[in-house]
Amino acid sequence: MHSPKRPEGIAETITVTKVREVLLVTMPSDPDDPTICALQEKTLEAMDQHTVTGLVLDLTRVEILDSYFARTVAETAQMVELMGGETIIAGMRPAVAITATELGVSLGRTRTALNVDRALDMVGRARHPKPRRRA
């Protein structure tokens, strides 16, 4: 059977993994509206089930961020905050960041990181730790 360019079944799903004290939520490259809608439910459900300090939303594979997607991300981050956790958005691609800015979306006060590694380090910590005072 001839397969299409992307294996839809695999590419379309959100994965939620618990890494130590953090929930790692990975978005597929081009989620449709029902999948984006599921982001909120899945995340809040996982927040409820596990004891975690925060959530890293991995957008490394995401190719576009339209107003609906951005709104869902911002809302989810707010809800996570209400549940006592912090959200860090990781790995947004340059093309996606530029387009989202020009479109005019807002991600609120959500913190961001260059990649998942850095994001995991940041959860629960201030972005730029205060320098040690010199003696």
Binding site: D30, P31, D33, I64, S67, L103, G104, V105
Partner: protein, 135 residues
């Protein structure tokens, strides 16, 4: 070019927005648009496709490869037979929404594309045409 010059995709259910988006991404890439330009076009298509689904219950997206004065481009036309827009200028205003959105779809799509035209009358439906030229 192996690509055909024009085509259309029906937008009926929510998932069709994602299908239209993917088609636009492949066409834009085939026409030689760069990664960021492609992201702009796909994002605009996502906004306009969602409006068709949300406000008119469905419609069609037509696309056409353009060639004028040695310049290549892509034209997307979103057509529906929904309620139409009574005041187009008002709908284009940042933040204007009747659907509980952020009212950034239309003005955002205009910023992301090079040209945009809206033809709409209450009761007859709406056609939004956008164009992007290669640099």
């Amino acid at each position: 070019m192996t690509l055909q010059e024009c085509g259309e995709i029906e937008i009926n259910v929510e998932h069709d927005i994602a299908i239209a988006r993917r088609a636009v991404r492949d066409i834009a890439a085939e026409l030689g648009f760069g990664v960021t330009e492609t992201a702009r076009i796909v994002t605009a298509a996502s906004e306009l496709g969602r409006n068709v689904h949300k406000y008119a219950g469905g419609g069609v997206m037509r696309w056409r490869a353009l060639n004028k004065n040695e310049r290549n481009g892509l034209e997307l036309s979103f057509e529906d037979h929904g309620p139409g827009i009574a005041d187009v200028d008002e709908a284009m205003r940042e933040g204007h929404t009747t659907g509980g959105g952020l009212g950034m779809g239309l003005p955002g799509a205009k910023r992301l594309m090079d040209e945009m035209e809206i033809n709409s009358a209450p009761g007859t439906g709406t056609t939004v045409i956008v164009r992007k030229w290669r640099r």
